[in-house]
């Protein structure tokens, strides 16, 4: 019995995926979730073979952190991410965290989805055409070896919450120089010209969220 868990805040997307999978007729159980918390809960209980979820599922948690939690909640599940703003470096980071598939929402997913799921079920990676192209471009980037790790994401979050560099250094217990270096790397990673622009870009990609 093949179980799949779908996570997206938009119910039309969940219904669309279900329609496509029902037509493909290979799936025995389809679970759905509309938030990060619900996705983790269902993943823990159902232990699905495949989890397909939107990279912007939860505004309070970035996609890399969500992947880390999913790997803990359902270690055997193959993870496939649905993304609206394909970023080759992010695809690289996601694969480094254990994701097996990345599908760009603008691609022809009516055709791509069933083979993508079949591929990841065989423990092989799958990228939809646009994601594949962007990944290849990103691998030529000088930043290809610098990952958006938990330290970099923490700096982003704290900047978005209004902390100054010195406060961030103190809170993270690292030298001030290190935080300046990380911020500089982040500006390059997000193609930002200023610190305000960095937060704007990071927010638009779901990597910085201030107090709510």
């Amino acid at each position: 019995m093949i179980r799949i868990l779908l996570g997206d805040e938009a119910d039309v997307v969940l219904i669309g995926v279900q329609t496509i999978l029902n037509n493909a007729d290979n799936w025995d159980a389809i679970y759905t979730a509309r938030s990060g918390g619900e996705l983790l809960e269902v993943a823990r209980e159902a232990q699905p073979q495949v989890i397909v979820f939107n990279e912007r599922l939860d505004p309070l948690i970035d996609v890399l952190a969500l992947v880390e939690r999913l790997k803990n909640a359902a270690p055997q599940s193959r993870l496939v991410v649905l993304g609206g703003q394909v970023d080759g470096l992010l695809v690289r980071d996601l694969f480094a965290c254990g994701v097996l598939g990345y599908l760009f929402l603008g691609d022809d997913l009516g055709d791509c989805l069933p083979p993508a799921l079949g591929t990841v079920l065989n423990n092989r990676p799958y990228l939809s055409p646009t994601a594949n192209a962007e990944y290849l471009v990103a691998m030529q980037s000088p930043l290809r070896n610098w990952q958006l790790d938990s330290e970099a994401r923490a700096v982003l979050r704290l900047l978005a919450r209004g902390l100054h560099i010195s406060q961030i250094a103190e809170q993270m217990d690292v030298p001030l120089r290190r935080i300046y270096w990380v911020r500089q790397k982040l500006r390059k990673r997000f193609g930002a010209n200023t610190n305000e622009h960095l937060i704007s870009m990071a927010v638009s990609k779901g990597f910085a969220y201030g107090e709510r």
């Binding site: 989805l113 305000e196 622009h197």
Partner: protein
């Protein structure tokens, strides 16, 4: 009662399939006469076929293109009712969409399954329709004071900050002194109740003060 002839336009396969499935399941006399992933095919179809309602996903055209598209459609197909299937939610944007002649606005992260047909019925009966989250945001912004407290210079500086310009560049663009730009930064921090410049952009976006 003659069926309402509907065309669905959505670049994303998954949500297009989802919308079609919801409409097909409905008991209301609705006929999905076309579903397209691009505007060129949609406009070609509209030239030769009678359509009552166009469900238009707003990721297809960019914001200025959406304005032009709506004007063009209003001129060439005067009886056509347009309902926007929105991925962005911002009161200024909602207002603009209605100014350009939309009859309905359905935010995709609302419970579309529950409200899609309701929105179609409202528009078909000659009313306008706003989905619940859009309505809530629109009303709270209308009664709020953020937009009124910020003047044109504040909004212009805010937009240039988002676009990645530094204070010197913003001063040049707006023909103001750099000192004035720093004064506006300070004013924005006070009005938006934030501590740092990095927080200004994120907070302004959350409050719907930016054009997106």
């Amino acid at each position: 009662m003659q069926p309402i002839r509907i065309v669905v336009v959505d670049k994303q396969d998954l949500s297009r399939h989802g919308v079609q499935t919801l409409l097909t399941k409905s008991d209301y006399p609705i006929q999905v006469v076309g579903a397209f992933a691009d505007l060129a095919s949609t406009e070609a179809y509209l030239q030769t076929n009678r359509v009552h309602i166009l469900l238009l996903d707003d990721t297809l055209p960019s914001a200025p293109e959406l304005d032009q598209l709506m004007e063009r459609l209003q001129t060439s197909h005067p009886g056509l009712n347009i309902i926007i299937l929105a991925n962005r939610l911002n009161p200024r944007y909602v207002r603009r969409v209605f100014d350009y002649g939309a009859r309905g606005f359905i935010y995709k992260h609302d419970r579309v399954e529950d409200i899609l047909v309701q929105g179609i019925k409202a528009v078909w009966d000659g009313n306008t329709y706003l989905s619940p989250r859009a309505m809530t945001l629109f009303c709270s912004n209308w009664t709020g004071t953020d937009s009124n407290r910020l003047n044109q210079s504040d909004l212009a500086v805010l937009q240039l900050m988002v676009d990645g310009y530094n204070p010197q560049e913003i001063a040049l663009q707006l023909d103001l002194s750099v000192r004035s730009i720093y004064r506006i930064y300070g004013r924005l921090r006070v009005l938006l109740s934030v501590r740092t410049n990095e927080q200004i952009v994120d907070t302004a976006r959350k409050r719907g003060l930016l054009d997106e």
